[in-house]
Amino acid sequence: MEFRKLVIAAAAGTLLLAGQAAAQGTLRIGMTASDIPLTTGQTDQGGEGMRFLGYTAYDALINWDLSSAEKASDLVPGLASEWKVDAADKTKWVFKLRPGVKFHDGSAFDAAAVVWNLEKLLNQQAPQFDPRQSAQGRSRIPAVASYRAIDPSTVEITTKSPDATFPYQIAWIMMSSPAQWEKVGKNWDAFAKTPAGTGPWKIANFVPRERVELVPNPEYWDKKRVPKLERLVLVPLPEASARTAALRSGQVDWIEAPAPDAIDSLKKAGMQIVTNAYPHNWTWHLSRVDGSPWNDVRVRKAANLAVDREGIKELLGGMAIPAQGFFPPGHQWAGKPAFKLRHDVAEAKKLMTEAGFGPNKPLETKILIAPSGSGQMQPLPMNEFVQQNLADAWIKITFEVVDWNTLINIWRAGAKHESSRGATGMNYTYFIQDPFTGLIRHLQSSLQPPAGTNWGYYSDPEMDGLFDKVRNTFDAAEQTKVLQKIHEKYVDEALFLMVTHDVNPRAMSPKVKGFVQAQNWFQDFSPVFMAK
């Protein structure tokens, strides 16, 4: 309590001194998470954790640009004002740190702090090693081999092999204050209660499992992103109907992911529904092990042509973007695939006939699905809809239903593993924000289980060559061209059953103003304010 008062007093005092316009209101948000995500820096609870307690209270060396709703967001300088790869040795990256940045506890951010934070994730012998943050952060930076401070404002990070996607990896890593950790007795649990990062928000009050309150950091280094609100309150409300009731009764001002069937009534009650495309897709990941019917490109294309994507959009009350590829339409890496994902049952039947199937000889196969799960949208009705669509093209699907955590484990284990129960595909939705999570991890042959999550054991030297090229192309524009080429190959060879993209709906009270929904899993709460 005392700390909370102190922080509020300090924040209010500085605000007055700075002579800024009065901050506007308190925004209360109902999250879908069942607990407050970790507050120590590297968050848990997936994309939602990073959205609410990562990029609010902390920064990475490289941040995501969350300022535009129109274009897909890309990387921008964060705590590093510039970075470049060594011209002679492409495994050496040099980061120039932004001068004058301070953590919330007043200590200075410098090269030693960067090294300290990498040790917190990667070095089990380091006193500040934190298993919980390591579990979240370590797998995000697989390329890192070593790191050192060259001088107080310069850090060098060496990768295991040349990797031009490294900036996307380092954008995951949040910088916590070493001085604050020392001050609270070198204890991460104590740090969790009184955390300090460099972000635009300070964590002021934290009641485990119930709520966390953030107040603006008026000294934030990016003056454009100093929050306009007085206070941001985050409440975990995992139950969709509870979130809707909380919004409608005025207990919160904003809810994440309202249930699709509640959207109409929320609109009628005067709530704003904000949506936008973001790097997410809803697909069937197809197995390519011997004997899988999906090894025939005609069958893969037929399935993609049989799906009525507009029908699915209607099923979801309009809350979906029909797929034109693996990435949402208009994404900078979409390119120009020749194969169009249209609804054409006649063409699908033609392809199936060529592949040796017919009305009396349908293709019968099994697909793994889960009845719920993070990002899975409405998996049961959607999968049944796709099942009916495919039946039109003589593809008879039976479902193997498992719970979400089991599906994740099967996804890690691979299509050949007995836990996959002979299924030739699984319904899995993907976070596709960067080259690795978006494209490489699904299909690189060296990432077949157990090394990675190429669940279907796809292997194509041409694709592997393209992935290598992405990692070795350090010019951004050139790299984009390679990524487009990869995506064209994804679509033209119908490597997945590509169905739809989520639109990330949020419902908010008419009083909430100034929010720009970026095409990203993360969002910026700094421009938001409450109308009087």
Binding site: Q136, V207, Q251
Partner: protein
Amino acid sequence: MLQYLLRRFVYAIPIALGVSVVCFALVHISPGDPLASVLPPDASLEMQQIMRQVYGFDRPLPVQFGFWLWRALAGDLGVSIATGRPVAGEVWHAFGNTFMLAALAAAFGFSAGALLGLVAGYWRGGWIDRLASTLSIAGISVPHYWLGMVLAIVFSVQLNWLPATGAGPGGSADWTWDWAHVRFLVLPALTMSVIPLGIVARSVRALVGDILSQEFVDALRAKGLPESGIFLHILKNAAPTSLAVMGLQLGYLLGGSILIETVFAWPGTGFLLGNAILQRDLPLLQGTILVLAMFFVVLNLLVDVAQTWLDPRIKRA
């Protein structure tokens, strides 16, 4: 009596041990990776092995159980995998919240249920009986998460009288017994009271009916005892069994309801348990189950003692 208490207390030890073995084993047999809550889905196998080591899941199960039990005996239930906070603290805090809810729900459910049952049993077959029976069957049958949602829609969304979720304007950490906080209790407590209300009403009704048909009632009537006196006799005869039913129900209430606490985002043991299950947070799951099981044991003991005290015919050999 003291000897009896002591013996019961000694019996509780193997029960507690049995409960901890069963809950440890069940949690470990059930599918799902205990590291699912801490690892991102695409963590590599190497990464999983490192984490397994860090959390001690690479050791044989009996060894893990031994460590866990040893620490549990000292009151240390370990640390939650997902949050890193001590399990004991989490469970006690949640139990405090559930206790408030259960106490209110029991106060309402038991008194209303006993009254309904008494009335229905005494005037068996009449319209009051039919009304009371309908109410109590409805109470048992209605899915309470559904009732919770309906109550929230009516009283929070439509009428805006009571809050729909949470435990107080600032969370349960700064709870005080004033209307600003207590109003958060009303809807979940009401929803929670419906089942014990139905069960208590039905048990009491049956008991009263049974007692009324016994010969001693005829004898009392023949003796010329006024109806109010007979009523008192019935009350006293029905009390021990009703108390046993209520004790069990109180146990269920104290266990918290995963569904109700989730619908109302009430930070009690049910909510905690639901979270622990969804996140495969084994230490939290084991700790919560153990504490709840121990409460059942203690509660049963208390009910037995109260029964003996109320009805001297029940001799506990």
